[in-house]
């Protein structure tokens, strides 16, 4: 039978506002009314039922069972009289077309309004929602408490402050007038804010606009959003701040413009760092001050997991503290390690939050620790999702913070060594100018960079439904990154023009004239603004305390120190023999001379290092391109951090009458990608934390937080990227290369859609080899608390060769979302951390094979490492038993896995 095509003829159209699900008290009162006009109501503006709004609106939190967002279109087959009929397969069908509107879902993002060809849609505040309550206990109080009573968690995002700051009102512009003549900025050199550098010491990034973008992570922003912002930053001549989600490999051609941010999750491969402009440490969460961050599993898609080097589709945690720096004391240690890694030429920054009462002290401490710049994060404004009570925890005003930070640094004699970026809640060129006048070198704007991409500050970034595609990856294609970049560039240039006009009006010529000039007058009620701008002339000079000799030396560039140590380094290098070098550290050699000598030796072709009588020297091997490092003695804090491809062995050593154990101090091997690191002794806290790939073997036990945030392996894509060199590309060529790569992506996306696109990364993900950490444990104590906390795919093994009653501490694997811990011996339920469970045996043959191989390797590595007799007796006993009855040993293992995961991906050859 020949089939005729089905032809639909619309009999009637209707607009229907879907009724509330529930009537009465728990009737959810929509915040916004979404009204669509019909042709009868407003001729020329009537809805034509084109379905555009259905496609464009994505917001739908409460009725996820519905296909679209606020709108949905229904077609009902009817007969001529309008009675509903069964829909025929073919022929002419009469339909009634109904546009449904679910007003509860609307967040006022205005996407539909801007896309409706008929201008039929009006979205406005629902007066019935907003007029409940009274002046004090307003609709918000009632609405939020009702939401709480429904069991909702009150999460928000795109925070722009809840209290109006006085930033816009009550100003007197202290303009240069008759008595202090100024140049005309349209025709003469005046008010030019286009030459500055970020960083004031050796590393100086040339900046052509004092307005910066902010750290926002890849993942929280769609690919296209990041790309648009990145290109805009390149074109504007300013660095780009990656946020803590690392950067997409497709964006590596622009690496020299990017400053990577290390958040408390330490996400990313951390290889190839010399290609970047710098490195910034994130000391706090934007929206959730004093708290950690959390990425739900669904958002951690294959592509994100690839970039962050974690297991895909599993939740991710950025813990509250930056675990490698628990206090100010540890800042210099962090900086010296990063400096050893990156050298003088790269910027090292700190992102600090203005929520602590001793903020000036913190700023000074950061500057003294040797950071090149400090980003001051003020209270208002952030993209992050947070509980509403956190969003109200605002921190201080950005202008005031810039003011007190600038003064504190001047008093400490450090202002000429550190740049200040201040950000948070700045909304236009005028406010940006205030921030500079108050003492910041640069002003950062985050959310405002979204406005040219369509953002209407609807506060729904966290829902993954951003209709503009800005903060939702699957709708990212709604943005054309190149058009978006142009718009961002234009907006920033307009701000700059406004600022330059103000600067010229004040009689200023350059960026340096403006910074810290405090030349506006404030006569309003805001106490913080009054403190900054209201008190009349801020004294031209402050009492400055001199830098001590030791402090000045500490802050001096590495190149100077290298020069000073030249003679020593040459003497050390006299011992080079082929590609090997023995260095007698002689207990007391400084960490810096040792590191510099090793670097110099590696430059000259040394690949294998033997260090003798080592006694706690810090950051051994950091930034040293070595194949093998043999440490005889105690490895100090941060040794082997960020190393790649290296093999490390430690051994006990004797110095005079003193036996130096082959132990490792705190944070050894953090954030590394070694081939193997073997510690013939015990380790202290944070061993191999944030490590991405490699084998980590420890003969004895460890302190707390070993294998913290242990990652899931280094994907090939990063290895491939490492081999590429973009240093010769001009900025235009960089942008072209970004464009070319994006076109490829877009072509695929258009053909196959987002889900298929990210599937392309599955192979890369599966081929990764997760890192493995294996500990023998000592005779007297096992592993400390928080073992493998927040781990994300790596594998930990505790052999417990002395059969300790309790081989491990508390909060075991707390927050571990992928990977697992194998523990030989007894684990009590109450020792487990949150979100994990205990499996009392290891049955899977792959897992057993893997364990067997790891144990055999462990025995092979340590049998000749020369450890103390007591340990070796236990070791030999264990090794013999293992050789005789491996199955028996394997039977004694339990494992700890995430609550919802049984299978473990173990690396077997």
């Amino acid at each position: 039978m020949a089939t005729r095509e089905k032809v639909k003829i619309i009999r009637q159209t209707r607009i229907v506002y879907d009724p509330p699900k529930e009537l009465g008290l728990y009737n959810y009162s929509p915040k916004f009314r979404v009204v669509v006009t019909s042709e009868e109501e407003e001729p020329g503006h009537g809805c034509v039922f084109c379905g555009t709004c259905v496609r464009e609106c994505t917001h739908n939190l409460r009725h996820p069972e519905l296909p679209g967002g606020v709108f949905w279109m229904e077609e009902i087959p009817v007969d001529e009289k309008g009675n509903r009929i069964e829909e025929p397969d073919s022929g002419v069908v009469l339909v009634d077309k109904i546009l449904h509107i679910v007003e509860e879902e609307c967040c006022n993002c205005k996407r539909c309004v801007k896309y409706c060809p008929q201008r039929s849609i009006k979205v406005f505040k629902n007066p019935d929602h907003f007029d409940i309550g009274n002046e004090v206990t307003n609709s918000e109080v009632i609405d939020l408490n009702l939401a709480r009573s429904r069991g909702e968690r009150l999460i928000g995002s795109a925070h722009r402050g809840t209290v109006r700051t006085g930033m816009r009102d009550y100003w007197m512009i202290d303009a240069a007038e008759i008595l202090s003549p100024q140049r005309d900025h349209r025709f003469e050199f005046a008010g030019r804010l286009r030459t500055a550098t970020l960083g004031k010491r050796v590393a100086r990034y040339p900046v052509k606009i004092p307005i910066f973008d902010c750290n926002m992570s890849y993942g929280s922003n769609a690919h296209e959003t990041v790309l648009a912002r990145l290109i805009a930053s390149i074109e504007l001549g300013r660095p780009f701040f990656s946020g803590e989600g690392y950067i997409h490999p497709d964006m590596m051609p622009a690496a020299r413009h990017i400053i990577l941010q290390f958040g408390s999750g330490g996400f990313g491969p951390w290889v190839d760092l010399e290609k970047f402009a710098g490195f910034s440490m994130k000391y706090g969460q934007d929206a959730k001050k004093g708290k950690g961050g959390h990425l739900p599993g669904v958002k951690n898609d294959l592509e994100i997991a690839l970039i962050r080097c974690v297991e895909a589709l599993r939740p991710l945690t950025s813990p509250n503290p930056q675990h490698l720096q628990y206090s100010i004391e540890e800042l210099p240690m962090r900086v010296e390690t990063l400096r050893a890694l990156l050298g003088d030429e790269k910027l090292i920054g700190a992102d600090a939050y203005g929520t602590a009462w001793n903020f000036p002290e913190i700023v000074v401490a950061l500057a003294r620790a040797g950071f090149d710049y400090i980003t001051i994060k003020a209270g208002d404004g952030s993209t992050g999702a947070a509980h509403l009570t956190d969003l109200k925890n605002r921190g201080l005003n950005v202008v005031y913070l810039a003011h007190i930070a600038d003064l504190a640094l001047r008093e400490a004699g450090l202002r000429d060594r550190v740049s200040l970026i201040a950000e948070g809640g700045v909304k236009d060129g005028f406010e940006a100018m205030l921030v500079l006048l108050a003492g910041a070198d640069f002003v950062g704007i985050g959310m405002a960079q979204f406005i040219p991409l369509g953002c209407t500050l609807c506060e729904r970034c966290h829902t993954d439904q951003c209709a503009w595609g800005i903060t939702t990856r699957r709708y990212g294609h709604r943005i054309d990154p190149f058009v978006g970049a142009k718009r961002i560039v234009e907006m920033n240039r307009a701000w700059l023009t406004e600022m330059e006009g103000l600067a010229a009006g004040l009689g200023m010529s350059t960026h340096q004239d403006v910074v810290g000039a405090r030349r506006f007058r404030y006569h309003g009620p805001d106490p913080l603004l009054y403190e900054t701008f209201g008190k009349g002339e801020i004294s031209g000079q402050v009492e400055k305390s001199p830098l001590s000799r030791a402090q000045a030396f500490y802050l001096a560039p590495l190149s100077e120190k290298r020069e000073e140590l030249k003679g020593f380094i040459e003497r050390v290098l006299e011992n080079v023999c082929g590609d090997e070098l023995h260095i007698d550290v002689d207990v007391e050699l400084g960490s810096l001379p040792l590191n510099l000598a090793m670097k110099e030796a590696a430059e000259r072709g040394v690949r294998k290092f033997h260090l003798h009588r080592v006694c706690g020297q810090r950051y051994i091997g950091v930034g040293v391109k070595a194949e093998e490092i043999h440490v005889h003695g105690l490895s100090g804090n941060n040794s082997f951090a960020f190393t790649r491809g290296v093999r490390v062995f430690t051994y006990p050593d004797r110095a005079g009458k003193t036996l130096i154990p082959g132990d490792a101090q705190v944070a050894v091997a953090n954030t590394s990608n070694p081939k193997e690191i073997n510690i013939a002794g015990r380790v202290n806290d944070l061993f191999a934390s944030y490590a991405v790939s490699g084998r980590f073997r420890v003969a004895k036990g460890g302190g707390v937080r070993n294998l913290l945030l242990f990652k899931a392996g280094l994907p090939e894509v990063w290895v491939r990227e490492c081999e590429k060199d973009y240093s010769r590309l001009s900025d235009e060529e960089v942008v072209e290369e970004l464009l070319r790569r994006y076109q490829e992506r877009k072509a695929f996306l258009e053909e196959h859609g987002f889900d298929k696109y990210i599937e392309r990364y599955r192979k890369d993900l599966e081929e990764r080899v997760p890192p493995v950490g294996i500990f023998g444990l000592g005779p007297d104590r096992g592993m400390g608390d928080y073992f493998m906390e927040y781990a994300q795919g790596g594998i930990g093994i505790l052999l417990n060769i002395f059969d300790l009653e309790s081989p491990v501490g508390y909060y075991l694997c707390s927050g571990l979302s992928a990977g697992c811990a194998y523990i030989r011996g007894k684990v009590r339920e109450e020792q487990l951390g949150i979100g994990v469970k205990l499996v009392r045996e290891v049955r899977d043959s792959n897992e057993r094979k893997f364990l067997e191989k790891e144990i055999a390797d462990f025995i092979r590595v340590f049998e000749k490492a020369g450890m103390d007799e007591e340990y070796m007796r236990g070791f030999d006993r264990f090794a013999e038993r293992f050789a005789a009855k491996p199955e028996e040993i394997l039977d004694e293992f339990v494992k700890v896995v995430p609550l919802d995961l049984e299978t473990v991906r173990v690396p077997i050859a």
Partner: protein, 395 residues
């Protein structure tokens, strides 16, 4: 007459803004030890610490009946007035001695350093003024009072009958040089504490910041940054224990000393200062748990706490106690040798200390929140069991 240049109040005590927080390196040792090698090993912690260093030497003033005060005067003008204050309390300043050679005042900007040999008033006088006749307590109370009253003008930074504390706002090497500490190396020192400091902001509270903080026979060194919200200070206030320096560090020393002196066992001190995770209680035996809960719910002791990164080493009379916070946000290492012990904020200080003394040592790192205690008697050091308490079974 030595001319110390006058130091501003801001620099001396921090004035209204107080003492900035700081970060530190610690080393303590006891037993058959040598001064200079240990000072060199503490020097390896100096990278952490650039402003402020101090040393306490136990035993240098032993075998004599008087209290030895080390006092720094911010301004010369106030000295007479402050001396008179003591006299008004019946305290006799028997001898006054310059602690620092004149040349150092040219080289360094520092307060005038004076050593006093002090004797307490008669019993009758004490009873009249203070309603008790315990001379140690009387003198300690006056020192606390002096220090809180005149903190902008002077600081008594050592007031023991046995040990002496030496502090400067400079580096360790400077402290050694200024007080000519080598001269004590021939004496037999029972125990020592060394502290090097890195304050978060330079230029203020320089002379109240440095540690060891010493008060009569208590002295302590601490490394960390508590997030205890001043709960410790409030608790001490309720016990009537007055803080002189006012920092969290001082609070911890005073608390540990209080607990030792009140006869709490090391185990109990550990429970109070570094409360266990609730999960740990499940594997405690019934009786222990009862005692634990009794202590940790004590209205005052429940406010004693080391939360946040923190390691403290306190010397109370002849007892040396070391402890870290329960989360172990600060490392802590101990080395036991044949006839000595070293406690330090890092493994390397322990090992190099033993190395410089030419001895072998066995290193361990106490577990998070665990107390270690030692007693030093006539140069002999002994590890104390956790059950030890003053006056009970272990005299």
């Amino acid at each position: 007459m030595v001319t110390a240049r006058e130091i501003s109040v801001e620099a001396f005590s921090g004035g209204e803004r107080g003492i900035p927080g700081g970060a530190c390196g610690l080393l303590a040792a006891a037993g058959n030890i040598e001064l200079l090698p240990l000072i060199s090993s503490a020097g390896c912690l100096q990278y952490r610490a650039r402003t402020g260093a101090g040393v306490t030497l136990k035993g240098i003033y032993r075998d004599q009946p008087f209290y030895i005060f080390h006092v720094m005067f911010r301004t010369e003008g106030k000295r007479k007035e402050l001396e008179a204050w003591f006299t008004s309390y019946g305290i006799h300043l028997l001898e006054r001695e310059e602690m620092v050679k004149r040349k150092f005042y040219y080289e360094y900007d520092m307060p005038r350093m004076v050593k006093y040999t002090v004797s307490p008033p008669s019993r009758e006088e004490m009873l009249e003024i203070a309603k008790h006749d315990d001379p140690d307590r009387y003198v300690t109370e006056r020192v606390m009072e002096f220090n809180s009253r005149f903190r902008d003008d002077a600081r008594i930074f050592s007031s023991s009958r046995d040990s002496g504390t030496f502090l400067t706002a400079f580096e360790l090497a400077d402290t050694i040089k200024i007080f000519e500490i080598e001269k004590y190396s021939s004496e037999s020192i029972d125990a020592l504490q060394v502290h090097v400091r890195w304050p978060t902001s330079a230029g203020r509270g320089l002379w109240w910041g440095p540690q060891p903080i010493a008060l009569f026979n208590i002295s302590g060194i601490h490394n960390g940054h508590l997030s205890s919200d001043r709960a410790n200070a409030r608790a001490l206030e309720q016990l009537g224990i007055r803080m002189q320096v006012g920092t969290d560090s001082e609070a911890i020393f005073l608390e540990v000393a209080h607990l030792v002196q009140e006869g709490y066992s090391l185990q109990e001190i550990e429970w109070i200062m570094a409360q266990k995770f609730p999960e740990e209680l499940l594997s405690m035996d019934e009786e222990e748990r009862k005692r634990y809960e009794e202590l940790t719910r004590h209205p005052i002791y429940s406010q004693f706490k080391m939360s946040g990164p923190s390691t403290a080493i306190v010397l109370v009379d002849d007892i040396l106690v070391g402890i870290t916070d329960r989360d172990h946000l600060r490392p802590f290492a101990v080395g036991e040798g044949e006839d000595f012990v070293i406690l330090a904020s890092e493994e390397r200080a322990v090992i190099s200390g033993a190395y410089y003394m030419g001895k072998d040592v066995s290193l361990f790192t106490p577990e998070a929140g665990k107390v270690v205690g030692y007693r030093i008697k006539e140069g002999v050091v002994e590890r104390l069991p956790l059950s030890w308490r003053r006056g009970y079974g272990h005299p």
